[in-house]
């Protein structure tokens, strides 16, 4: 079996759908620093180039005015127990362009794997970028994910990101995202992670609502147990009239897990408004007991509640 097939199989086994044979759907498959497969569609250009050892330069461009119909599938992975995957990603959406990227990261056998992503994202006027990232990790916790993104958003552009850990242990996750928004631009960043054992989750998300009527939502939902730890730092600044934003952080803890939430909101214009909500605690006992009164045991009940929370 060749590497491409192994990667696609690992992806499917992890729960991904088979989209790699569909000619209307663009895709890119990367195992460590090897581009195993690539398919483009009209209006979309994807270039992957290995420069340094273990580093891939990835460029994704959507031409002005093109609305890519089917979500583009990107599959990143490291199949062996050990390895480094370093990606420098450049995303450029032309004016009025639209794209959804489903990015799946698969590290099924990780004992000591590091996946590092540095992204520069530029959204031109009135463009729309949806980035859905799903992670499928192994059970050993041997993955370190470090993601950094600088995001520039021109007027009327929209960005939606959703990060979900679908399977396995976190290992270590470290995010550092920062977005600058011009007038009428809109950003929504959602993170859904559950961690256990000695997992470590560090999230830093910052959005600056610089333009009039810019909108920002930073929303993290995290459930941790055992000795896991989560630090969430969300910063939202608003400095123009009618700029509005909301920071929402919910963390559920069990056992010896420790969660920290630091919402920072800064408003520099009297007609701007930013709100925040942070709740850290154990699972609501009314919810638990309702499900227990239907016959679920405590473990089953808390799983269901956490699954629900992370879906929402």
């Amino acid at each position: 079996m060749n590497d491409y097939q192994m990667m696609v199989d690992a992806y499917k086994k992890a729960g991904g759908e088979d989209i790699f044979s569909d000619s209307n759907t663009a895709h890119m498959v990367l195992e460590q620093d090897n581009v195993l497969g690539k398919h483009e569609v009209e209006g979309l250009k994807m270039d992957a180039e290995k420069n340094d050892k273990n580093t891939v330069d990835l460029k994704l461009q959507v031409k002005e005015g093109y609305k890519i119909k089917n979500p583009v599938h990107m599959c990143f992975g490291v199949l062996p127990k050990e390895g480094l995957q370093k990606i420098v990603m450049n995303v450029f959406l032309g004016e009025d362009a639209e794209i959804e990227v489903m990015s799946d990261c698969v590290f099924p056998n990780a004992v000591q794997v590091r996946h590092q992503m540095e992204a520069d994202i530029h959204l031109s006027k009135n463009s729309n970028y949806r980035y859905i990232e799903n992670h499928f990790h192994g059970k050993t916790g041997g993955v370190t994910v470090v993601a950094k993104a600088n995001i520039e958003m021109e007027e009327y552009s929209e960005l939606y990101t959703l990060f979900t850990l679908r399977k396995g242990r976190v290992g270590k996750i470290e995010f550092d995202y920062e977005a600058e928004l011009d007038k009428n631009a809109k950003v929504e960043m959602l993170t859904r992670i559950s961690g256990y054992a000695d997992d470590l989750i560090k999230i830093k998300e910052i959005a600056h609502l610089n333009g009039q009527n810019a909108r920002g939502i930073l929303d993290s939902k995290i459930a941790i147990k055992d000795e896991a730890r989560a630090d969430v730092y969300n910063e939202l600044t608003a400095s123009a009239p009618d700029a509005k934003g909301h920071v929402d952080c919910t963390e559920i803890i069990k056992d010896n897990a420790v969660a920290k939430a630091i919402p920072v909101v800064e408003v520099k214009h009297p007609e701007a408004k930013v709100t925040h909500e942070a709740a850290i605690g154990s699972i609501d006992s009314d919810q638990l007991q309702t499900l227990m009164a239907r016959g679920l045991d405590e473990e089953e009940a808390s799983d269901l509640i956490i699954q629900g929370l992370l879906k929402g």
């Binding site: 006992s285 919810q287 007991q289 309702t290 009164a293 016959g295």
Partner: protein, 252 residues
């Protein structure tokens, strides 16, 4: 008729305060047993104590369900034996669909349910299945809708004893009618019903009623008589402390 639930001399203390005092009641299979009484008299606390909720374990006394003393069983164990409770104010669940929620109780009791069963249960509580099955049981549902959905989940569970804590409060007249019919169905299926209520309409469905005041049972018997006693003979009393209440009674 056999007894499904026997409560003997139940005493409950919360936060050093006596909440229930020497409660003794018997509920038979297929019997609708109403519990009435003023706000704060301990009706919900009794329900929680019977269901075994955290923090509501009795200080003394015994609870027999199907002739087994269940005081040391967990909520889950009680539920799996066929006991369940519908809350006065049902909890909300983010990200859990009505469909998932309805299936839980049925599955834990080993009842295999299909789509048509889910639809049936919702129709029983006057809810249109197509509109609701994929919605979440969260704050986007109204309080009355959540209560009806909780009742539907209990229907699918096929319990042997249900404790309904004010199933009528906050629901509209149409649903009220349906809830009445459900209680009648429970009775027909030989299910024991402990019905906590403030409504005369609901009380009409009861075979027997108990009046609780200040954590004590004051009167047990025919629902109409008990209700009239409550309405016309009961003085609003300043002191709701059941222990002192009892002292007054003893002195009399």
């Amino acid at each position: 008729m056999d007894e499904i639930l026997k409560i003997e001399e139940l005493n409950l203390v919360l936060d050093k305060e006596s909440i229930l005092c020497n409660i003794s009641l018997n509920i038979k299979k297929g019997e609708v047993f109403a519990v009435i009484g003023p706000n704060g008299c301990g009706k919900s606390s009794l329900a929680y104590s019977l269901m075994g909720l955290k923090g509501y374990k009795q200080k003394s006394g015994a609870i027999y369900y199907k002739d087994e003393e269940i005081s040391n069983l967990t909520v889950t164990e009680r539920a799996r034996k066929g006991m369940t409770l519908a809350w006065q104010e049902p909890a909300r669940f983010e990200g859990v669909t009505v469909k998932e929620f309805l299936s839980i109780g049925a599955q834990s009791r080993g009842n295999n349910i299909k789509q048509k069963d889910l639809e049936w249960a919702l129709k029983e509580v006057a809810i249109i299945p197509q509109k609701y099955l994929s919605r979440n049981v969260d704050e986007t549902l109204s309080g009355g809708e959540r209560k009806r959905i909780e009742l539907a989940s209990i229907l699918l569970m096929k319990p042997d004893l249900v404790i309904l804590d004010e199933p009528d409060s906050g629901v509209d007249v149409v649903a009220l009618n349906n809830i009445g019919n459900i209680i009648k169905d429970f009775k027909e299926e030989n299910i024991g019903v402990l019905l906590i209520t403030h409504s005369d309409e609901m009380l009409k469905l009861a075979d027997k009623a108990a009046l609780i005041c200040g954590g004590e049972v004051f009167n047990v018997g025919d629902p109409k008589e008990v209700s009239e006693y409550f309405k016309y003979e009961c003085m609003p009393c300043e002191d709701h402390n059941p222990v002192e209440h009892q002292e007054v009674l003893l002195n009399e």
